[in-house]
Subunit: 336 residues, 2 copies
DNA sequence: TTGTAGGCGTTATCAG
DNA sequence: CTGATAACGCCTACAA
């Protein structure tokens, strides 16, 4: 155990098995032209030595690194965590591993990350959103591997896109509130910077309000971190206003939930005094009291589907459709 | 853009810059012995071609892959998401990238993953928990890179450990309930299989109950997925019992929160009818009504610290302590 | 300060 | 069915 030499390589397995390294390569990768007998000897030798396949060498030959690069804005946001889970679920079965970077909602940071991740010769790349720097797009195009942009659709993707129309979803969620008779609409969304999903949601909100002939009061529109505390703060702010909204569309269940919990505490009735609609359909949405009306989004499915599109491409399939709309669903519960 | 050839390599940059590949290597890696003039020419050529450094080739030379391998039980569990965030935060600054695998709480799957991840020649490995298969331990020991086991301390680590005593934390949380005068204690924890953290927490609970001369009723002890719905189900189950507990220690805030929300719905008063203590100090804990007493754990700090220990080791520091107790804190709020 | 030779571990290709 | 050779992109060691 004190031998701090190098890990056993194919040549070591080959020596022990009494064959050439090439035969080991074939035997271990399941090449059909290896005699069953030979294969057995090789496998036994490999196990005995604790041989671990070196992906870096294969990657160098551009024969597939079995790596998929992923860039998300924020690893600890639960919606992306679900998407990562979905990706992992499908990819790990085929022996792929994820390399992850988080951009912190910055397109420049995303560019830096993509550059770094491409240095590992990934067999595919998964990004969040549709807007990127020119350099990012160009790097990815040249990489010549399948690229999937997730969580939004609308503009032309670099290669493939898996998501839904954030604009339409927000538009319909807002119309849902308006149909209930609410006229004084407030909006709370995540930070706008470099975030096309949030931008589309706010645009959808504004469009629905305008279509109904209503007005958007700018002091009822807030962008804040997607955290429970943001919702809490918002509820307090509304409580102090003279003119209060009668409905809130929060572009995140987390914000909406914080808002409802604080309303309960302040004695503001939901939906009596203010109706609330969220976004994402987080687990909390159907457990909170009152249950939260929201936009259901197949978070994990986005990951699963992205993974399988990449796998299909890598398997040589030619006609993989480029834009996948996974849809959304307005979920009507007690809060609105 | 339709040229599907290969990505530019050093030799291409060299050709364009009119120097040898070796000079490109030195110029780009900031080697001091390169003339400023030459460096400028090289950098310009590299940018022009969109050169991306190939980490796989450097890794092959055993010069460091700039990759850190991470194995977590579950990517979408928010406590691990926070730890991943902490790791990323520190590692990305130094140009490291994470490769991630999820074991689904299976030690055999963990072994498979470690084997795969080691194939990328990571410069460090981060695991969750202290129990692993023999083969896992042996693979990691032989790898000769810094290893950190996280989220628990107690037994001897493979190399380094960053965490806290789950036993002590659960013990103290239970004593906290007992000091309040509760005598009929229930426990709800995550799945036991291959999970030393959960096992230690249950053991801590039992030890505290025994120490107080009380008894553990086995029908009040449940292991269930760490989800809100588990807490909801538990509240319903208790409501139908003839003999009910007067306190619940849930080894997860998620379960505790689901429990409280359902109690509110059922008209069961917290803490009047049943006191509740959670674990983790999730954001929801201080927003829920009543606010949740819990065990605060520095989730993100576990990631940050693990990362910096690895970096210190890689920087050649010899005397990096092997066991880091990040501690915990009993947080007293309204629910108990 | 810059260049040349060789090899890291694997696999495509061609020979046997 | 198995083996020898060369090459993937980079960097250490040595030379100029």
């Amino acid at each position: 155990m004190s031998k701090r030499s190098r890990a056993p390589a194919m040549r070591d397995v080959a020596r022990l098995a009494g064959v050439a390294p090439m035969t080991v390569s074939r035997a271990l990768s399941g090449h059909p032209s290896v005699r069953a007998e030979t294969r057995k000897v090789v496998v036994r030798a490999a196990n005995k030595l604790g041989y671990v396949h070196n992906f870096m060498a294969s990657a160098l030959l551009r024969r597939g690194s079995k790596l998929i690069a992923l860039v998300v804005p924020n690893v600890s946001n639960s919606v992306f965590a679900e998407t990562i889970h979905g990706l992992e679920e499908v990819l790990s079965v085929e022996g792929y591993t994820l390399t992850i970077g988080h951009s912190g909602y910055s397109k420049d940071e995303e560019e830096r990350l993509v550059r770094t991740l491409l240095g590992y010769g990934p067999d595919g790349v998964v990004l969040t959103g549709l807007t990127h720097t020119r350099a990012t797009r160009s790097l990815l195009t040249r990489a010549g591997v399948p690229i999937v942009e997730t969580w939004n659709i609308g503009s032309k993707p670099i290669d493939m896109a898996v998501g839904f129309s954030n604009f339409d979803a927000a538009f319909q969620a807002t119309e849902f509130l308006i149909r209930r008779g609410q006229k004084l609409l407030a909006y709370a969304g995540g930070t706008q910077t470099d975030n096309d999903r949030t931008q589309a949601r706010e645009a959808g909100f504004r469009a629905a309000v305008a279509k109904a002939g209503l007005e958007v009061r700018e002091d009822w529109v807030s962008t804040m971190p997607m955290e429970l505390s943001s919702g809490v703060e918002l509820a307090r702010r509304f409580a102090e206003m003279n003119r209060k909204p009668d409905a809130l569309f929060a572009a995140s269940d987390v914000i909406a939930s914080g808002f409802i919990l604080e309303c309960n505490r302040l004695g503001v009735r939901v939906p009596g005094d203010i109706a609330v609609t969220g976004f994402d359909d987080a687990p909390l949405a159907e457990v909170i009291e009152p249950q939260l009306s929201t936009v259901h989004v197949p978070q994990r499915e986005i990951g699963r589907l992205s993974a399988s599109l990449i796998l299909r491409r890598l398997a040589g399939e030619q006609h993989v459709p480029t834009v996948h709309d996974v849809g959304f669903r307005i979920v009507s519960r007690a809060s609105a």
